[in-house]
């Protein structure tokens, strides 16, 4: 600690250069934070996926529907504990930019299948008693200032009612929270019985989007998935069953290999920062060769000089990193910038820690060669360059 003043004073030597370097590090870490949040939003669901849940969809594509009658057959398959279905509603609230998911579900089964959604018991009761009732996640409720008792009109882009209208009205009877930070609390869920009865005849009545299955033993999930697909083999609607995580991953891959894209961008950014900061440190050491000679003359060991230079580059990178991560956190905490396309947009603690580790590594990497150069200086030679 007693050397901190010396290290800090050296950084203040060329204020403009230090500020610009600090800014470039800051920008890199802001980008790191934002991309981490985007990645989390796109593929984070994979981590939150239940290990004991399988998704059963039409073999051809997710947009092909499956018969509602499959549910009973699925529940008879050995290893299946519970099966329930959802259907993509594709609704718009006021403006197409106000995107969030709305799906018809069977309330009790659905809540049983998704214990990560926390709904107060009286709201659950109200949902079971109200045919047009819907529950909405905290995120969307806060976004549109919805409260229990509100009537919400949603225009479906897919489903017409029997009167030909596509405008559906739901009564908000519950607002659910997520058990974990990563739980998506943007969707709205409403009752399938109301949906199926109200949708226009010949427009998919009795058909559902996909099934979610809970297996009795997660270690047998692959075996159960195989049995489900075999059950519906050679039928008019063959199925493809996969773990919930794989299903979400496949969904995210429609955008591309997110993790690879993010890694490539960050790799390029940090490589540039490595060069910029490394150059700053090299210049800083070259400029004060004589001063380093003085330090050695008065008794600083080679190792202490090495540590001083490394501490300087480390301090620069850590201060820049902390400021960048802090700014990223501030931006991210303002919420999804896309208006609903990235419902799980947050800065995971794991990535904050990775960011901190990167800033330390950056400091050490950029200071290594200049520090080595400083360490190897011969005192008598260095003093001549004062």
């Amino acid at each position: 600690m007693k050397f901190l003043h010396l290290i800090w004073s050296n950084l203040k030597r060329k204020k403009l250069r230090t500020t610009l370097t600090l800014l470039s590090i800051l920008v890199a870490f802001v980008l790191f934070g934002l991309l981490s949040a985007v990645k989390q939003a796109l593929v984070g669901g994979v981590e939150m996926a239940g290990a004991d849940r399988l998704i059963v969809r039409h073999k051809v594509s997710i947009i092909q529907l499956l018969p509602e009658s499959y549910k009973a057959r699925m529940e008879r398959i050995p290893g299946v504990a519970l099966a329930t279905h959802q259907t993509w509603f594709g609704g718009i609230y006021q403006d197409p930019k106000n995107f969030f998911m709305q799906n018809p579900v069977v309330p009790e089964e659905f809540l049983d299948m998704h214990p990560e959604l926390v709904l107060p018991p009286e709201q659950k009761k109200a949902w079971l008693q109200t045919r047009t009732g819907a529950i909405v996640g905290r995120n969307t409720a806060d976004r549109f200032h919805w409260k229990i008792g509100d009537k919400v009109p949603i225009q479906s882009s897919i489903w017409s009612k029997s009167d030909g209208s596509r405008l559906w009205e739901f009564d908000i009877v519950g607002i659910y929270d997520g058990k974990d930070k990563g739980t998506d609390t943007t969707p709205l869920f409403f009752r399938y019985d109301y949906f199926d009865e109200a949708r226009r005849a010949g427009w998919g009545k009795g058909l559902v989007g996909w099934y979610t299955i809970r297996v009795k033993d997660p270690s047998q999930a692959a075996e159960v998935a195989k049995r489900v697909d075999e059950e519906f083999e050679n039928s008019s609607a063959e199925t493809k069953t996969e773990p919930e995580g794989a299903f979400i991953q496949a969904w995210a891959r429609q955008v591309g290999n997110i993790a690879l894209i993010v890694a490539a961008i960050l790799g390029a950014v940090f490589f540039t920062i490595l060069l910029v900061t490394g150059n700053t440190m090299s210049q800083a050491v070259r400029e004060r060769t004589g001063e380093l000679g003085v330090l050695k003359a008065i008794g600083f060991t080679n190792a202490q000089v090495l540590a001083l230079v490394l501490a300087e580059s480390g301090l620069l990178a850590i201060v820049g990193g902390l400021l960048g991560l802090g700014l990223a956190w501030l931006i991210i905490s303002r919420g999804d910038p896309t208006g609903g396309m990235l419902p799980m947009f947050f800065f995971p603690t794991r990535d904050v820690l990775i960011g901190l580790a990167i800033s330390v590594a950056l400091g050490l990497a950029t200071g290594f060669f200049p520090a080595l150069q400083a360490m190897r200086l011969r005192v008598a030679d260095a003093l001549r360059r004062m």
Partner: protein
């Protein structure tokens, strides 16, 4: 108190030292079979023309360089045989350097520059401050303690340099042309200060200079020419 010498009052014993620098394949003999003994408490001036090897000899005595041949013993320790790490520690404990161009760190105030050698000790912050205040008072620079080198005159910078050199109460103070960059008045003040350190505080001082006016302040003067010492000025 400074550590006392172990060899009959001799603090510095340079014995048969040779120093050869290599430029390409050519070897340049800077010092040849050089012998020098400096008793503790002496104020010795080392004179000689440019390139005579004065600074090289000072570097060898101060443990900044190693002889090609021969031995350098200071306060009873063969410093030419110490490892780099031990030599650095030895310098911190025994040697105070005063340079011609002051060599202060421009980013630190005068008092922070003076404090630098104390960072290598186990003294607390308060103890370091006390030591710094004391030596700044000794060199008459207390009123400029918070000033950066660029705002100090040459004489004041050299006072700060001397304060840094003596703040750890070293066994030996090595001054390399300390008045070389100062006008006569400021130079005289620095020489007064060195003389006072020698007479009143018992510091052993080796002063490298080519200025007879400066060497006249020393108790003894030796002359270096073509790598060899003599007690007579070079003709």
């Amino acid at each position: 108190m400074s550590e006392q010498p172990k060899n009959n009052g001799i603090l510095v014993d340079v014995d048969g030292v040779e120093k050869v620098f290599h430029r390409g394949s050519e070897g340049i003999h800077v010092l040849r079979d050089l012998h020098l003994k400096v008793p503790a408490g002496e104020f010795l001036a080392l004179m000689g023309p440019s390139g005579s090897g004065k600074t090289t000899l000072l570097n060898l005595i101060g443990g900044l360089d190693r002889p090609t041949k021969g031995s350098v013993t200071v306060a009873g320790e063969r410093i030419d045989q110490l490892s780099d790490r031990k030599l650095a520690g030895w310098r911190a404990r025994h040697i105070g350097f005063v340079f011609q161009l002051y060599n202060l760190l421009p980013v630190l105030t005068a008092e922070r520059n003076v404090e630098l050698p104390l960072l290598l000790t186990h003294l607390s912050r308060a103890q370091r401050k006390k030591h710094v205040d004391t030596v700044l008072a000794v060199v008459g620079l207390s009123h400029r303690a918070k000033h950066y080198p660029r705002t100090l005159s040459g004489g004041e910078q050299q006072r700060a340099g001397i304060a840094r050199g003596i703040v750890t109460d070293p066994t030996l103070v090595l001054c390399d042309e300390p008045t070389g960059d100062l006008d006569r008045k400021a130079g005289d003040e620095i020489l007064d200060l060195l003389q006072a350190l020698n007479r009143e505080h018992g510091k052993t001082i080796i002063l490298v200079t080519h200025d007879p006016h400066a060497s006249a302040r020393a108790a003894r003067t030796v002359y270096l020419d073509k790598g060899q010492l003599s007690n007579e000025p070079v003709k």
